[in-house]
């Protein structure tokens, strides 16, 4: 099972003063909500990581979320905000794309009076920039916007679009047919995915919470297990339910899926679509570009493969312990062993790439090393 990732959570501090919608009229939400509180919820549910999503239409809030992400390993990404009407919007998006953990942008379409706002050609420049930098467009929309997003998906086939909260359908006792059809239409574009999140807060008063299961079925049938992304919309979720109950309800909805599909919806899809960087360090480290050895940051097993950079793969030949060295490439007898960019001795036997390098195949060029049983002469 890949890591479980909650692809949609919010953190905020009303004192920052730029949220607009967040007012004392929402007593449960109008307070500082920090990463410790979120971490407690995730840990209780067994969720490994989260993607923070913007809640204010300002770039300052994105900086705020990125600063939290920078010090919090389990925060895997930030969906922020960029001013689509700025004259240098492409430059701004390029800069954001260079910041660690910045994975997407979310204009707050649901709050805009003009449903066609996003169709404006000027804003199309921003969407093009998102596509070329591999950033996701998070669509915070209502059903009225669904056909507009279809147009965007058609105009920008390289843009990854994620529909938040399944476009917030009103959930009564029956699934709305127009919504269902629009979901299918959106799903026909391979660059569109949908978040399985936020639905409990869309329930009509008095409606049965299990009606949400019908909506989830529509999402899964339309987008399949490879384009549905699980999230919670916590803490907004707490207006209607608890993290624990949402988690249990969605697990029930996914129970008929294979383990592989469940794992995709619960984290792997988010990791792929948002291009989340692994927060697990590679099991071996290259200390200096000139080195011909790697140092294991955990014990590795024969047969393991991993990347030490985007285009350099290591194939481990034999079990090697934490702190020990692996050959980065094949080394022959007499070759210098380079670590920290400096020679640490010479090979006394050949080793293939991915093999263990130690006293059995290298020696000091300076003075004998020894174990309790044996001495490895330097000369």
């Amino acid at each position: 099972m890949s890591p479980i990732i909650d692809a949609h959570v919010h953190l905020w501090d009303p004192a920052r003063g730029d949220y607009g919608w967040l007012t004392p009229a929402l007593p449960g939400l109008y307070r500082r909500i920090d990463e410790q509180e979120l971490h407690a919820e995730l840990t209780r549910a067994g969720v490994d990581g989260a993607v923070l999503v913007q809640a204010a239409p300002t770039e300052a809030e994105s900086d705020y979320l990125l600063s939290i992400a920078a010090r919090t390993p389990w925060v895997r990404g930030v969906v922020g905000w960029v001013d689509f009407d700025a004259s240098d919007v492409e430059h701004r998006i390029a800069q954001r794309a260079g910041q660690a953990k910045f994975v997407g942008v979310r204009p707050m379409l649901q709050d805009l009076d003009d449903a066609d706002w996003i169709l404006d050609p000027g804003r199309g420049r921003a969407l093009g920039a998102l596509a070329s930098h591999g950033l996701v467009f998070d669509a915070l929309i209502k059903p009225v916007h669904m056909t507009r997003i279809e147009q965007i998906a058609r105009r920008h086939p390289d843009l990854a679009i994620v529909i938040d909260h399944a476009a917030k359908p009103a959930i009564g006792n029956e699934v709305s047919r127009p919504w269902r059809e629009s979901m299918r239409a959106l799903a026909s574009y391979p660059n569109v995915a949908c978040k399985l999140s936020g639905l409990l807060t869309e329930l009509s008063p008095g409606a049965d919470p299990t009606r949400v299961l019908d909506c989830i079925d529509v999402i899964l049938q339309s987008f399949g297990a490879s384009r549905a992304i699980w999230g919670s919309d916590w803490p907004v979720l707490t207006l209607a339910s608890t993290y624990e109950r949402w988690y249990a309800l969605t697990q029930r909805a996914l129970s008929s899926l294979s383990e592989r599909d469940r794992s995709a919806v619960m984290g792997a899809n988010a990791a792929r679509i948002y291009r989340l960087k692994s927060n697990v360090a590679a099991p071996a480290i290259l200390l200096h570009p000139d080195d011909n050895v790697l140092v294991c940051s955990r014990a590795v097993r024969a047969g393991e493969r991993f990347n030490i950079s985007e285009n350099e793969t290591v194939h481990v030949l034999q079990d090697t312990e934490l702190g020990h060295k692996l050959a980065r490439r094949a080394l022959s007898v007499g070759e210098k062993v380079i670590k920290y960019g400096a020679s640490i001795g010479s090979m006394t036997a050949a080793v293939a790439a991915g093999g263990w390098i130690h006293l059995h195949n290298m020696k000091s060029d300076y003075i004998s090393a020894h174990t309790r049983a044996a001495r490895v002469d330097a000369t």
């Binding site: 390993p73 360090a281 934490l322 400096a342 640490i344 130690h358 000091s364 004998s368």
Partner: protein, 400 residues
């Protein structure tokens, strides 16, 4: 960061107020140890020198240690017939305004009588030292911090040592005095190290000290390399050396000192621990505590000790902060490890975060918080024969 220190007559400030009980030959060791045990007091520490032959270095070291700023009073325990110049040591301590007494076992009536008198003397001196203590505010800039590594493995050089290096950078920046050593583990590093020297004389002294170490260790037939280093993935002295060197951080090296030389000006110093002259008394430092003792003799108030395999030692007189580079060692030996730099390997923090943690802990320990080894009663101490020529004037900056 400010904390309360103990002001001494020479102007230095201590972070502890220890009564040191010092045996002046191995023959007095048992009596001195029994005195310390009977006192059953965390602030009464055992130190000493085992040899019977006269040795300039040992006398200089004992003078430096008995007047270390963390020491408030001293009891000397002599058998009576050994060559150690107890009178000179006692006079040196008395001149520093510290309470000092000497018990000569042969004059005191033997073992039992000497122990009884010693216990009474320590209790009286402890009271005196406590009554006479002058508590004053102390800053990070007034600290002398040493670093060593022990039980290194393949993680030490990539987590704990560079984290200590960055902590050293911050401490030096704050005006503190920092000392690194292990010249025998820096063979091959002398070029880059000399570039960091603040004067040509210091650069020359660095190169000379490493060349001396190389000659010395070759004559001994062993480098500073233990079987545990190999089990932990280190394959050669050079590899261990490169990892050890990064503990020094990136500050300029302002001086090269020898044991028992106390720097007057702040900054980063290299301590040359390899004896001068032809190899004479065996291995320069027979175990990690021999190095800690030399750092203390240069005024170190505390020592940052990095370990991969998991050393447990502490020290008499000056607290030891244990930083492990290996996350498995931290899990296995949490009770001994103050800082887990190994978490870096598991994606839980980076070198700067660990460096911050180390600096905060240095301030807390300076303010009286006990380190783990200190709390568990580790008070290791070892001093053996060596010989040194004094450092040349160019090796030491004078205070402004």
């Amino acid at each position: 960061m400010s904390f309360q220190g103990y002001l001494r007559k020479d102007g230095r400030k201590g972070i502890r107020n220890v009564v040191a009980v010092a045996y002046l030959v191995e023959c007095a060791h048992h009596v001195a140890r029994r005195i310390v045990e009977r006192c059953d007091d965390a602030d009464v520490h055992l130190i000493g020198f085992p040899g019977c032959y006269p040795n300039e270095y040992a006398l200089r070291m004992m003078k430096a240690l008995a007047t270390h700023p963390n020491v408030g009073a001293v009891l000397l325990v002599s058998l009576g017939c050994e060559s150690f110049n107890r009178e000179a040591l006692a006079a040196h301590v008395a001149a520093s305004d510290r309470p000092v007494e000497t018990i000569v076992i042969q004059k005191a009536g033997g073992t039992r009588s000497a122990i009884e008198r010693g216990v009474a003397a320590v209790k009286a001196m402890k009271q005196k030292a406590s009554d006479a203590a002058v508590r004053v505010p102390m800053q990070l800039s007034e600290l002398v911090v040493g670093t060593i590594c022990g039980g290194s493995d393949g993680t030490s050089g990539i987590t704990a040592n560079p984290a200590v290096g960055r902590a050293f950078d911050r401490l030096v920046e704050a005006g503190a005095t920092c000392i690194f050593e292990e010249t025998g583990e820096m063979i091959g590093c002398e070029g880059p190290m000399a570039v960091r020297a603040s004067t040509p004389a210091v650069a020359a002294a660095i190169v000379a000290s490493i060349a001396k170490a190389e000659t010395y260790y070759r004559a001994m037939g062993f480098g500073s390399f233990a079987p545990g280093n190999a089990e932990g993935g280190l394959s050669s002295q050079e590899e261990k050396s490169a990892g050890a060197y990064v503990k020094s951080g990136s500050s300029p090296i302002v001086g090269v000192i020898k044991p028992a030389e106390v720097p007057e000006a702040p900054g980063l110093y290299l301590l040359d621990v390899v004896p001068d002259g032809p190899p004479k008394f065996g291995f320069p430092n027979i175990s990690d505590n021999a190095e800690i003792v030399e750092l203390m003799a240069c005024g170190a108030h505390l020592t940052l000790f990095t370990t991969g395999r998991g050393s447990v030692v502490g020290s008499a007189i000056a607290p030891v902060i244990k930083v492990t580079g290996n996350p498995d060692t931290y899990r296995r030996m949490t009770e001994d490890m103050d800082v887990n730099a190994g978490r870096i390997l598991e994606g839980k923090g980076d070198l700067d975060e660990v460096a911050e943690e180390i600096v905060s802990l240095v301030a807390a320990v300076a303010g009286g918080q006990l380190t783990k080894s200190e709390d568990m009663g580790h008070r290791e101490f070892i001093l053996t024969y060596k010989s040194f020529e004094p450092s040349g004037p160019g090796c030491l900056p004078r205070s402004a």
